[in-house]
Subunit: 332 residues, 4 copies
C-alpha cells in the first residue's frame, strides 16, 4: 500500500535543506590523526550526502542552503552541479562565514572519530527569506535534517520550510540527525525536533534520538511502538527506528512493522552508513515500493558506502545496489 | 454556548508565563521625560498585569517566571504574594540578570511613550526545566504572552509549556503582545507566534499583530475573518481582534462574530488598556459568560485603568467594573 | 612647590572622559529598596560628578563621552549645559544603547547599596574616533576614570586619549574608580589600569585599588610608599591613597607625604564622598595650592556632599567649602 | 657595536608567545583551490614558524601558548617537542576551542592566497595567568607577535608578558604581523600595537604596518626614519622596515641605517619569507653579529623557504643558509 502521494506533476522529485560542508578524510588510515599528514577533500553533511545519493539513483534533486563565499563554498556548489543537483537555492553567504569541516580519523573500522569545525559556519546562516514557497511547491518531497535546527536563523528557516511543505502538499522526510555540537541544551533538541516531527510524514532516527524528542514531555518509555504512535497522532505515516549495525525497524500508521537487516561489508569506516541508507530508502518510497524492499535497498547501499574511503563520492547507482542484493540473495 | 471546558476539579484557575518587570511612571505628567525628576515604581509586564487583574477579580492565580536576585526582583515577588498570587513557580534567577524596566512618559493622554530596559533581563532566562508539568496540569487555563518568545531560553520554555498544556487539557490563552525590542527579525515573530497560535484555544491580538503571524507564509489578506479561519483550522475556538479605542471583534469557531464597544473614560494614558481588557474578558470566559458580555466586561475594566496613573495597581474589582457598566447602561 | 605646569594659554581648564549616567535615589530612606516606592533622578557617574564639582568651583570644564539617544541621554546633556559644562564632545550614541542607571538604597548612613544597570550602556560605546586631539590640546588637564577601561571600545578611546594628552602636555589625572561590574577578570583591571597609571601625572585610588594594579606583576607589598614609588618611576608626580572615612595620604615625587583628615558631617549616605573630594582637590592643584590645602579643601567638600541626598546636585561652591573649613578651624 | 645585552646566564635563549596553528597546503599547485583535492598538514603561525627557525639554528627555544584539546593540538605540541622546543608553557585549552587553520592556495608564485579558520581558536584563549614571570626571567629574549593582541584574553596575556620582560631585562622582539581578521577595527590595531612597540627593543614590520601604529595619533608621515625615531624615543634600539621582495632597511638608535638585499630564488610561494627572515635575523643578533650580516643571513634563509612547499618544515640550518650566501658571494 502507499502511505502518501507524491504529486507526479511536479518537476522536482526531491529537495533537501540544511548542511553543506566538507569532509577532510585522513589518507593514512588505521592510526591516530596526530600521525597523519595528508587529507582528501569531499563534500559532506548529512542532507548533502542524502541528496547526492538520491540524485545518483536518478531522481531530479535540489538543495536549499548557504555556502561560504570562498574556495570551499565554490567547491561544494560546483560538485553539486556536476552531479546534476539544482543549486538555484544554494546561496553564497556574504557575511564572512566559513564552510563547516569534518576531519575524519579512522583508527580501525570500529574506532572512527570526527574533529568538527562548526563555528561561524555558512549553513547555519540560512534565513527564512531564503526559503521560497515556489521551490517547495514544485518538489514532490523535502528532507529536513535536525542539525539545521541547532541555531538561528537556520532554525527559523527550517520551521518555515516545514510549514510551507505542509501547506503545499510536499511530503516531509525528517532525519533527526542529532549532533551534540552547536545545540545549547538537550531540551532545545527535543523541543525543536518535536515541532518538526509533528509535521513530518516520515521520521528517521536512532532510539537515543527519539528519546531526546520525548525527554521534555515526560518520563521515557523506551518503546519503539509507543514512539511511533506518538508521531502517528500527528502527521507521520512511517517512523523508522535505526539500530546501526543491527538494521532498522519501520513502523507504519496502519499498525504494521518491518524489521530490516544488513548486508555483509568489508567495513573501512562507519561514517555515511545512515545517509546512504536514507537516500536509497527514500528512493524506494518515491518509486512506490513496499517498505521491506525500501529497507533492503537502503541496507545494500549502506554496505557499499561503509566499504569506501568517502561518503558522498561513494554513493552507489541503483545497478550497484541491486548487484549487492542479487549477490547475497542468490547465495541463499 | 461554551467553546471549551475548564476542568473544575483543578485547584488553580489561571496561570500565566513570562514577563515580570517594573514600571517607573513619571510623577510629573504632561511634559517630556527630560523634564521630569521623580518616578513611582509599579509591578509591570503584560502577563503580570493580566494575572493581577484576574486575581483581583477573585480567581485563584499563579505565575511561571524568573525574577532578578535583587531588590527589584524581591519587590515583584512580594507584590504578587500580597495580591494572593501563587509564586511557587516564580524563580529567582542567580545568573546576574536585572529586572526589565519601563520608564513611562505621559506627554498627553494620546502621546505616551516608554523607555525600555530589556538587556540581560531575568524574565527571558526562564528555562524549559523551570516549567513543571504538574503545575500546568493543576491549572484550568494558562496565558501565554508572545513577548516571552522573543529570545532563548524563555522561547523554549514557552514552547514546552504550550505542549504540556495541550497534553493535559489546560486551556491555552495566547496574547500576541508584540514588542519590537528583543526580537531579531520580523520573520522570527511570525514563525514562533504561529507555532503557539496553532496550539491555542483563544488568541488575542491587534490587526497588525495577526499580520505579523501571516507574513512568512504568503501575501497578506488583511481580513479578520480569514485570520480567524486560519487558526480555527488548528485548535482555536475564539480569535479576538483588538482595535484599540475602536473596541474589538471576537470571532468564534461556530462562525459567529461579536463586535465589542468601549466605555467613555477620562484618559490619563493608554497603557494597560489591553491588559485590563484581557483580564476581565478571560474572567468572563471562565465564568461561562457569553462572548458579548465578556467583551463588555473587558471594555469597562479598560475604561477604569486608562483613567489611572498605574496599570497593575489600578486593576479593578468585579464590583467596580459592574458599576461602570451599570452607570452607562442605565443612562441609555 | 608646583609639581607640574598647567598651560595657562589654553581656553579649557579641565575635561573628563568616560561615564555619564543616572542615579535614581530612593526618596524613602532608612529602609530596604523593596519597600520604597518613589525615586528622584540625578546625573551620576564618577567622572560626571567630578566635572560638575570642578565646574561649580568655577573652572571652565568639558566632557568627552557618549549618551543614549533617548530622554535619559538628553536629560544628562541638558544638565551639563545648564551647569556651563562644554558638551561639544558629548556624542549621542545611535546604536540602540541605554543610559547606565544606579538605583541607590540608603538603609542607614553606613549601609548603602547600589543596584546597577550596566548592560548595553552608551558610555562604554565611546570610540577612539570620538577622541579629538584638538580638544585635548586645548585643555589644561584631563581626568581619566578607570571604569571607562572596563570594556571596548571605550577602553581603546581612553588609551588613545591618554597618549594624546601626554603628547600635547595636558596634565593627566587618573582616578582608578574600580567597580567590579563590567570587567571580565581582576587581571584585566590591573593590566589596563597600570597602562594608564604609567602615563598619569596624578593618581587617586584606595589601597585595594592600588593592589589590583600590582597583582599581575608580583607578590603584593601593601605599602603605600612602595606603591607611590612604582608610579614615580614613570610619569607620576602625586599619588594619593584614599582611606574613606580615615582621610587620605598624598605622596609626592620629591619624597614628601601629606596626611589629610576629614571634617565632621551629619552623614546621610557615603556615595559621592570620593568624587567631591577629587573635584575640590583638583581645583586646589589647578590653583597652585600646596598639597595639604588641597586635601583640606577636598575633605571639606566631601563633608558637605555626604550630608545631602544627591551627589551631583550637592556639589558645593568654593564659598560653601571655605565656610566649612572656617567653621571647624575657628572652633579650634 | 651591540645594541642590547642578552643575559648569558639564562638557560633559555629565545621564547615566543602567541599563535600556534596548522597550515593545510594544497598538494596540487598552480590552480585554484576549488580544483584541488588533497592537502598536507604543517605546523604554522608566524611566532611558531620563527621559533622553529631559531631552534633549527641551534638556539634553546620555548613557547608560551594554548593549543586545542584534540588531534590538531596534540600534533602541534608533538611537533615542537620533536624539534627540541620547550613546551612546558604550551597549555592545552579545555574550553572547547579549535586549532586555527590556514588553507593555502598557490595559483602561481605571485598569486597565493590563504583561507583562514580563526573562529573560537585556542591560541587567542591564552590568559594572563598562563604567563609565568619565572619563565620569562629565565629567557634571554622574547618574541611578541602582533596577532596575539587581536582579541582578549590573549591580548592581556601579551601585555602582561611584555611588562614582565621589561621588568626582568628580557630583550623584547616585536613582529607587528598584522592580519586583518579577528581585529575589530583599524584603530584597535594601532592602539595596542603601539603599547607593545613602546616597550620593545626590536620592532619588525612592513611600511603599512608601521602606518597602522601611527594612524590614531596624527597625520601619516610615511617616512621610515621618522617612524624609527618615534620608537627610539621609547625603548627601541632597532627598527626594521620590511619591503617584501625589495629587502629591508634596519634603523638603529645610534642613527645608522642598513639596507638589506635579497637572494635569488626559485619561488614556489611567498608565504614564510618574513618568518624565516626574522628567525635568522634574530639568530644573528643573539650571536652579536653586526646588523648587515644579520640582514644577509635573514635574506638567505628566506630564499630557501620560498623555494619550498612548506614554511615550518623548510626552516634551514645555519650551514644551509651559509651555503646560499657563499654560493652567491663567490659568484660575484
Amino acid at each position: 500500500m502507499s502511505y502518501f502521494t507524491f504529486d507526479e506533476s511536479r518537476p522536482m522529485d526531491f529537495i533537501a535543506i540544511g548542511r553543506l560542508c566538507i569532509d577532510l578524510n585522513a589518507n593514512e588510515i588505521h592510526r591516530p590523526m596526530e600521525e597523519t599528514r595528508t587529507f582528501t577533500k569531499y563534500v559532506g553533511g548529512s542532507p548533502a550526502n542524502i541528496t547526492i545519493a538520491v540524485a545518483k539513483l536518478g531522481k531530479k534533486s535540489g538543495f536549499i542552503g548557504r555556502v561560504s563565499d570562498d574556495q570551499h563554498g565554490r567547491f561544494i556548489t560546483n560538485y553539486l552541479q556536476e552531479r546534476g543537483i539544482d543549486t538555484s537555492c544554494v546561496i553564497t553567504d556574504k557575511s564572512g562565514t566559513v564552510t563547516g569541516l569534518a576531519f575524519t580519523e579512522i583508527k580501525s573500522p570500529t574506532e572512527c572519530s570526527i574533529l568538527m569545525y562548526r563555528d561561524n559556519v555558512a549553513d547555519l546562516k540560512l534565513e527564512p527569506a531564503d526559503v521560497s514557497e515556489e521551490y517547495i511547491k514544485n518538489a514532490k518531497a523535502i528532507m529536513i535534517s535536525g542539525t539545521a535546527l541547532a541555531a538561528s536563523p537556520s532554525r527559523e528557516a527550517v520551521l518555515k520550510a516545514v510549514d510551507l511543505a505542509r501547506k503545499n502538499g510536499t511530503v516531509v522526510f525528517f532525519d533527526i540527525d542529532y549532533r551534540p555540537y552547536t545545540w545549547k541544551s538537550r531540551e532545545e533538541v527535543g523541543i525543536y525536533c518535536s515541532l518538526v516531527a509533528e509535521k513530518s510524514d516520515v521520521i528517521l532516527g536512532g532510539r537515543e534520538e527519539f528519546d531526546l524528542l520525548e525527554e521534555p514531555y515526560g518520563p521515557l518509555q523506551n518503546d519503539d511502538q509507543a514512539t511511533a504512535d506518538r508521531w502517528f497522532a500527528h502527521h507521520a505515516q512511517i517512523v523508522l527506528v535505526k539500530r546501526g549495525g543491527d538494521g532498522s525497524t519501520a513502523f507504519t500508521k496502519d499498525g504494521q512493522s518491518f524489521k530490516g537487516t544488513t548486508f555483509p561489508a568489508n567495513v573501512v569506516k562507519t561514517f555515511g552508513a545512515g545517509d546512504s541508507f536514507a537516500g536509497a530508502f527514500i528512493y524506494g518510497l518515491m518509486n512506490g515500493w513496499d517498505i521491506a524492499r525500501c529497507q533492503q535497498f537502503g541496507a545494500a547501499s549502506a554496505s557499499i558506502v561503509v566499504s569506501s574511503h568517502s561518503c558522498s563520492d561513494a554513493m552507489p547507482s541503483a545497478e550497484e545496489i541491486q548487484a549487492v542484493i542479487d549477490k547475497h540473495t542468490t547465495t541463499v
